[in-house]
Amino acid sequence: MDDMILQLKDLHKSFDNVKVLKGITLDVKAGRFLTLLGPSGCGKTTTLRLIAGLDTPDSGSILIGGKDMKGLPPEKRPVNTVFQNYALFPHMNVQKNIAYSLVLRHTDKEEALKKVNELLSIVQLEGYNKRMPAQLSGGQRQRVAIARALACDPQILLLDEPLGALDLQLRRQMQVELKALQKKLGITFIYITHDQEEALNMSDRIAVMNDGCIEQFGSPENIYEHPTTRFAAQFIGQSNIIEGDVVEKVAGGVRVQICENNTIIVKGEYEIGEHLALSVRAERIDYADKADFGFALNGTIKMHSYIGGVLRTTITLQNGQEVLITGANPVSRYPAGCAVQVFWDPAVAAVVERGQGK
């Protein structure tokens, strides 16, 4: 566990008797870009504030570089935060904002100035030293906030939805820049967002959070391709949740009954009678007159809609459930109302829930 820069152990936190965090445990390796991904109110900002020392946990512990942070105020922790609203000091120019922590440490004036200019060049704002925050655009303020947080060489940089206020174009650009910056500096980034695309795009590791718990922790590929919980499957990407009971064991897997006369093949070992919920990504499902992969679900095409780049098709299954399918082809050979068979490669379906059958 020596290379763990950050360890969270069973963190609990309540505000006014509302449980916000219900046992957060997380280990982060040094140099990683970790994203806490979840809907608003899931406790991700609270987690960040606990790490920064801006709030104290009710129970559980936080270790940074192996050192317990218990009782340490924010100013004594080797982490810095980029706040959601940037929190630049409005009465100080860019240079004074960035040099804030350097002045506190009585850094030599010339050295501090050198550092400020270095940081400004890292965030591509050379020559903006004397500008006041009010004279900067949103993207520029964001960069100043990052430069300011990096000024005293934190071991971990905490970023609380830093791109939330920017427009889409700038967001995309900043995503690339932030990722490049993190690679270059080699500092651990803990990044908060509710935007799945942002998370998948930038992170080495993603922790999917919901309702005060971590639902799944893994690499972006892992999270996307192999969701382990229903929430993780539905929050990220377009997922179809397909449920049924195991009726028969077959080679390499089991047969699961979805509705009358319709079964699917699921890989893995399960007991007969078990109830399974599967997540199948919309782009991994296919449909045709005749199915492959040894199973098929009968359905009727309800509608097609072209959403730019992909064609989204809704198919109603025999049991009334609707599945969403996306395909690269802008036109479909099958018009709405046409009966088709729906199928997928059993290897791409992930079991997100298992329980006793009815």
Partner: protein, 290 residues
């Protein structure tokens, strides 16, 4: 305080609706002012108040030893009042602004409530409390803490108490207004960047609430130069303040030109003070890397 570029000038066109306001202002503010300035150049007359003899004698008389002492005393009293109200008012306003919205409104209501009562009546209340057989002395005597009544009324202490009491709400409300507008994540950012709580206060909260402090100081300093009835009522007229001097010239000496000259001098004095103060606080944000 920050160099915000000036917004473009809005077109100025006088609406007929404001003309009555201009007339009132000219009649009741500008004309009396011109009259006051005018008579400073005239001589006093025992019968008619003023003569039409033009002179600069009144301005020369300003610099008599007596007048200079009154100016100096008034200045000291005004500065002390300002400093005291600031020292009490800042923490008061700061902590009030950090309460919940409901508590805040209630506290501000309590501060404003005394304004519904005439200030002379309120000061008379203090006399009842402070006098030799007043509530405080009676109480202390009854408790056996003192054996004879303390002389706490009609001295400088009582006068300062009255000044601070009368002017504190102005300080509190102006500071409160700027503390209330503070974005507290800035303090979290300061802490995050390595400031201890007090350093965060000095470097972030104080400069950002400076406009409220300046406003409060001006609102307290300016009237405290001219308040005469507090010195009369609670101070026992022991200290002659500028306000008392002006009052005496008008009512007792019946020297209107001299009273007017003193008034103008006081106006000029406070004006200069405000300008200096503004200049000083404008540079307050300096420090650290420039």
């Amino acid at each position: 305080m920050t160099a915000v570029p000036e917004t473009k000038k809005t077109e100025r066109r006088i609406s007929p609706a404001v003309i009555p306001m201009y007339i009132v202002t000219v009649l009741f503010v500008a004309l009396p002012m011109v009259y006051v300035i005018g008579i400073t150049f005239l001589m006093k007359d025992e019968v008619f108040g003023i003569t039409n003899q033009v002179t600069l004698k009144n301005y020369a008389d300003l610099f008599s030893a007596v007048n200079l002492k009154v100016f100096a005393d008034s200045f000291v009293v005004a500065i002390s009042t300002t400093v005291l109200t600031l020292l009490i008012g800042y923490p008061f306003a700061y902590f009030t602004a950090r309460f919940s919205q409901k508590t805040r409104s209630f506290i501000i209501l309590l501060i404003m409530a005394p304004f519904w009562i005439n200030s002379l009546l309120r000061l008379n209340g203090w006399i009842i409390l402070l006098k030799a057989n007043g509530a405080i002395n009676e109480g202390l005597l009854a408790l056996g803490i003192i054996s004879e009544p303390l002389k706490i009324l009609y001295n400088n202490g009582a006068m300062m108490l009255g000044m601070v009491y009368a002017l504190l709400p102005f300080m509190i409300t102006s500071i409160y207004n700027s503390v209330e507008k503070m974005d507290w994540t800035l303090i979290e950012a300061a802490r995050d960047l390595g400031s201890k709580p007090f350093s965060a206060f000095l470097r972030v909260t104080l400069p950002l609430t400076m406009p409220g402090v300046v406003a409060g100081c001006v609102l307290v300093f300016v009237p405290s130069m001219g308040l005469f009835f507090i010195s009369d009522l609670l101070g026992g007229s022991k200290v002659l303040l500028l306000g008392n001097l002006i009052k005496n010239e008008f009512y007792q000496a019946r020297n209107w030109p001299m009273g007017a000259t003193l008034s103008i001098a006081m106006l000029a004095f406070t004006f200069v003070f405000i300008i200096i103060y503004k200049k000083v606080t404008d540079d307050k944000t300096a420090g650290g890397l420039k």
